[in-house]
Symmetry: C2
Subunit: 431 residues, 2 copies
Amino acid sequence: MNAGTETVGQTDANAIHDAMVTLGQAARAAMQELATVPAETKNKALREAAKAIRASKEALLAANAKDMAAAEANGTQGAMLDRLMLNDDRVEAMAKGLEDIAALEDPVGSVMAEWDRPNGLRIQRVRVPLGVIGIIYESRPNVTADAGGLCLKSGNAAILRGGSESFHSSRAILDCLHQGLRMANLPTGAIQIVPTTDRAAVGEMLTMPDLIDIIVPRGGKGLIERVQAESRIPVIAHLDGNCHVYIDRAASSDKAADIVFNAKMRRPGICGAAESLLIDRSIAESVLPTIVERLSEAGCEIRGDAATQALDSRIAAASEEDWDTEYLDAIISVKQVDGVDAAVDHINRHGSHHTDSIVTEDEGTAEKFLSRVDSAIVLHNASTQFADGGEFGMGAEIGISTGRLHARGPVGVEQLTTFKYVVRGNGQVRP
Amino acid sequence: MNAGTETVGQTDANAIHDAMVTLGQAARAAMQELATVPAETKNKALREAAKAIRASKEALLAANAKDMAAAEANGTQGAMLDRLMLNDDRVEAMAKGLEDIAALEDPVGSVMAEWDRPNGLRIQRVRVPLGVIGIIYESRPNVTADAGGLCLKSGNAAILRGGSESFHSSRAILDCLHQGLRMANLPTGAIQIVPTTDRAAVGEMLTMPDLIDIIVPRGGKGLIERVQAESRIPVIAHLDGNCHVYIDRAASSDKAADIVFNAKMRRPGICGAAESLLIDRSIAESVLPTIVERLSEAGCEIRGDAATQALDSRIAAASEEDWDTEYLDAIISVKQVDGVDAAVDHINRHGSHHTDSIVTEDEGTAEKFLSRVDSAIVLHNASTQFADGGEFGMGAEIGISTGRLHARGPVGVEQLTTFKYVVRGNGQVRP
């Protein structure tokens, strides 16, 4: 049950394999217990874990200081370093996040649909946990608390593999989660961390279909691509968010400026941040200057196509690569296009099927954009930064799925369940 | 658009790769057209294809005769040969199947849920097609019509790869589907067949994530395992149906006999057929003789554990392997167990998470079985042969998914869609 507490050396492949199997078996044992546990027991574990996080703030910050020092020594900076950092507010946010998850409705056991057949059979579609979920993520240590909490709430056992750069922070957070589990008499196998930073452990996770049911990767393109290529287990992919705002010729210029500024600069490091601005060529000259002014003043680097660059000396030249880049930083690329059709084409070609927004007062143009852009979330006259389970009213999320199967968009506790059909009869046989 | 009409030789790997890319590109072009086509246009294509199938009956039977002769020459027999066979009834059933699909409600564009947020954003969850679906199946030629029809109805483009043994039958059926598409002015790229029986083509399909969105394998364990191991594309798995009936000590012996007989013998070759009978040890002696008698009279081979074998000289000895075997034939294994807990353990260990039934008059025992058996479909006092989209009232199905993600149980037109979030605002930005 406690396989998450020793550290395995970096070199012994057999030891890593054995450690992963031990983890997987503990997770499966915990999963069977979790599947039939009352909501209140899971909620108690979550609330006790929140208490433990608040009580352990100093220990958490000390563990995080080790990770931060190592990252800075490795030359990490900017948004990447910010993602790794814990402070008082972020520790409190983790605790609050677990309490919020405790307050959510328990999805397990809820009847999604039920109907009767002419032969008297009664059919119900009932939510059940997915099983054992392997979560592979990069630097943000708070994912340890969020993902562990969401999996627990939805009755799943979690095997977490955080980035090596957040190893100490994540282990300290795990200790708090385990305190919560123990207070509720739940097995600590319900939430475990891979006990090594060796990348080979990820390879093991991806090839354990008998022990892990679902893999959820969270991170950059490199991580996701590796997971998708190697995994023998179904993947709920959280790819990069190369999100767009398109300003139509019929846009309100005030709304356009507010939405672009918010979509880029509210938090440039989140996956729902806009990376590219598309604008109808016919209004670029009148609408762009205000936007360029606001972005530049806020320290945002702007990279434009030739026509856009000509408007302002602060605009750098965009390369072809820029249209495919998720900066996760205060940088935006700007392109002038010939109307909504060209915008849709550009987004479907260069976007990541995550979140894209149109600014227009023309309903017909908006509907065209909303129906043709092939993304998990499409918005009209709203910021792409609303791409968030909380903002959707779904509670906390494990991420935004850019895959097409099972879960698309925010992945919350409901999306971490599957279902079974329960059929009740009185002796029916099929003719 | 017409890449499905030439046959590629068996040896040239480059030619196969090129042919598959051509197929994939035609499918993606067709998919974009299909996504916005009105329901009536798709329904017209389906009804015209049904007409073409009826009008082409002689050609279909002649093509099937070629496949049958080759299969018999290869020594194929029993249930496998029956699966391959077309006759008047089965041709009519294919035509009727397409008309039934035309009569279903179009899932595309339907609003699954909608709600307003306090900030005025209106959020809708809207059904959209999955995209391009690759379907890999074995002998049954009617899958060509069913799968092609279901994909078309749900707005997806289909790339079909049938068994080499049904190649001529499937090509003749495809011709009818293309007639339907042409009558509705839809691209024939909407439904294509892999133009070679070379197994390398399957390898190509599984590694084309840019061109194919979802892989649906239908067939035996060997096929599914190969697909799951090799695929770089998400898979909706249709694994084998190692289905169980458990007769509890509180069972009605009449219901038990009727349900077991129906679950095994109504059609022994379908995935919902029962393969193993579990029975509470305490009632085996009183309940089994009638069941053994009925099954034996109907020509069913019975393989039992030692205790069961002792009851009747017609019962052969079951080996450990029997508990894991999907016979797809008139054979059943019988095991005596110590109550519902042992039955649940056996099913979760040896079953295929497909369909399992309990016969009991005790509601508490039934609920325990229904909640603890980890299968897509669990039944109380009803035959496992109800595991069928039509019997569930969902219309035609492409199969029964034993995977946990996205679709579990019958996969019909609704399960062949995904969704997107459409968010409408009036200038909202995130605080």
